[in-house]
């Protein structure tokens, strides 16, 4: 087999490898950027920051509903004896970020005041469940 053909084949092989990996990385990029545009069109969601001792600085983005509680099925699991299994939820809708207490035993506090009805949150509000404090950003 002439060396020229083998060299050509080798170059084609490596080029195809690059094409393959390039196409996959393109697909991954578009996958990620679809996520970005989708989050930016729904403007209702806000960031929430946990200040609990065990996981300081963890942030959550409220897309539509975010459940907080002690149950492993909750979106934000808090390991706190004062929290109920399904304690409360954040709902991101047209009117902004709304907090619903789900009849928890020990209550949910916004800026130190116990929540009795669904409450619209604004930036800077501190939400307290047991020892866990979350801040709306």
């Amino acid at each position: 087999m002439p060396a020229l053909i083998l060299t050509l084949l080798k170059l084609i092989f490596v080029a195809l490898l690059f094409l393959f990996v390039w196409q996959i990385s393109r697909a991954i990029t578009s996958h990620i950027s679809i996520g970005v545009t989708r989050t930016s069109t729904k403007r209702s969601k806000e960031l929430v920051l946990i200040r609990a001792d065990d996981r300081p600085g963890e942030t959550y983005k409220v897309v539509d509903v975010l459940m907080l509680g002690r149950s492993p099925q909750a979106d934000i699991v808090v390991d706190d004896p004062y929290a109920s299994e399904f304690h409360m939820r954040f709902v991101g809708g047209d009117e902004g970020l709304v907090l619903h207490d789900l009849g928890s035993t020990n209550g949910t506090y916004v800026n130190g005041r116990r929540v009795t009805a669904p409450q619209v949150l604004v930036k800077g509000d501190a939400v307290q469940v047991g020892k866990t404090v979350l801040e709306v950003r």
């Binding site: 083998l6 080798k10 092989f13 490596v14 195809l16 990996v21 990385s25 065990d54």
Partner: protein, 431 residues
């Protein structure tokens, strides 16, 4: 990207594998023969069945895992075939077995999800320890399951069924079970391990009793080093443990203390064991003992150097001069015959695979799944880093296999199962 696009990529990777085999044939003066068709067929069956299993039992799984694994395996099999066609034939069988086991796993967890892995964690830990200790079985007793020493490392178990002896490294599977155990254990205990308020500056200290698990892991890793003489597995074990502990607690004190303990252990090992000392000298000064300890690394460097930018072409270099080119030094063989270009594309594929794995970890819905995905990805990435780092002389050579590339059934099987778990984890992401 869709499932159908994934299928197209898998078809492409199968074609590239047979293209590679055909090139090796042509360079050796042969032609397009049954080996080419067989390679294509085996890739199609192995990855096709995995693809169908995902369609059936994990339809929301990531699309990117399988194509990346397929292209890495394709390049690996091309190089193994070029170095030793008989072993490539065996590796094809292993690929089928690995795919079958991965499909089997996806089927087994189709309705339960990965919840049983969390629940039976102590059983998995026990299984992992048994597997880790299995190679220490006597080599010459009557039971047809015996330990085996290969190249000075006690990592192998030989199962003898009549005339056939099947060899495998149970440690490869033990590694996965250990990650599952740690993810499950730490997901539950992370608050206890993260509590404590004493600080030095901004660094929060850990309580003395919280160091007990670190000490246990350190002792276990050192035990592997002493009794099985396996530098790589020992390092991997300790690094995985520290990383998961750090990811679960977010306390920088653990990796800092762990790194300190690592250097203490490394120093003792270097003083006490000749095989560790040999590795370090071969790493720092491979040419000072060219005919002895440094020979393999030196030949690897020559190979990659002569490969230059575009490589010599598959079948046209002399990678067979490197000892253990099919296993430890496959990356050097790629560097010689496909050049820097081929080596870089392989690195890119591994980097993307690791990124996809960590992406799955970030999007997972609870701490157990996050730690599991991150831990498995870390195992994959660290193995790649350790062996490629060893070959290009960034690190001492550890003799870990290059995932999906090196010749070896146990490694292929365990890494394919790892990918199946990652796929299932990505299927269980909240939408």
């Amino acid at each position: 990207m869709t499932r159908s696009a994934e299928a197209a990529f898998l078809l492409g990777a199968s074609a590239l594998a047979s293209f590679g085999v055909a090139m090796a044939n042509l360079a050796g003066g042969g032609g397009v023969d049954a080996q080419v068709a067989l390679t294509f067929l085996v890739f199609l069956i192995a990855f096709g069945s995995l693809h169908l299993a995902l369609r059936q039992w994990a339809p929301r799984a990531s699309f990117y895992l399988l194509p990346l694994v397929a292209i890495i395996t394709a390049v690996g099999l091309t190089m193994i075939y070029r170095l030793d066609p008989d072993r490539a034939g065996l590796q094809r069988w292993w690929l089928l077995i690995a795919a079958a086991l991965a499909v089997g796993l996806l089927f087994a967890v189709r309705s339960t999800g990965l919840e049983p892995l969390r629940r039976y964690r102590y059983l998995l830990l026990l299984g992992s320890l048994v597997l880790l200790l299995l190679p220490l079985l006597p080599t010459d007793w009557s039971i047809p399951l015996r330990g085996k020493t290969v190249n000075g490392s006690r990592l192998w178990v030989e199962f003898i069924a009549g005339p056939i002896g099947i060899q495998f490294q149970p440690g490869e599977i033990a590694k996965l079970l250990l990650v599952v155990f740690l993810a499950s254990y730490l997901a539950e205990r992370h608050t206890v391990l993260a509590s404590g308020t004493r600080t030095i500056g901004r660094l929060r200290l850990v309580e003395p009793r919280q160091l007990v698990p670190v000490l246990v892991a350190w002792t276990a890793s050192f035990g592997v080093l002493v009794y099985q003489r396996d530098l790589g597995a020992s390092l991997l074990l300790f690094a995985v443990f520290l990383t998961l502990l750090y990811m679960a607690t977010g306390r920088a004190a653990y990796p800092i203390i762990g790194t300190g303990m690592f250097f203490v252990g490394a120093f003792f090992a270097w003083q006490a064991f000749s095989h560790v000392e040999r590795r370090v000298i071969a790493w720092l000064r491979p040419f000072s003992d060219f005919d002895g300890a440094g020979y393999q690394i030196a030949q690897g460097l020559f190979a990659m150097g002569s490969g230059s930018l575009a490589g010599s072409g598959v079948g046209l270099g002399r990678p067979e001069l490197i000892p253990f080119a099919q296993t430890d030094f496959l990356f050097a063989a790629i560097g010689e015959e496909l050049g820097l270009a081929g080596a870089v594309v392989v690195l890119c594929a591994f980097a993307l695979l690791t990124a996809v794995g960590f992406g799955i970890a970030l999007r997972s819905r609870d701490l157990f799944r996050k730690l599991l995905a991150a831990g498995l990805t870390f195992v994959l990435g660290l193995q790649t880093f350790l062996i490629i780092g060893g070959v290009v002389r960034v690190l001492p050579l550890t003799g870990i296999t290059l995932p999906f590339m090196s010749y070896g059934g146990s490694s292929l099987v365990s890494n394919m199962v790892l990918i199946a778990v990652l796929a299932r984890l990505s299927h269980e992401e909240p939408t």
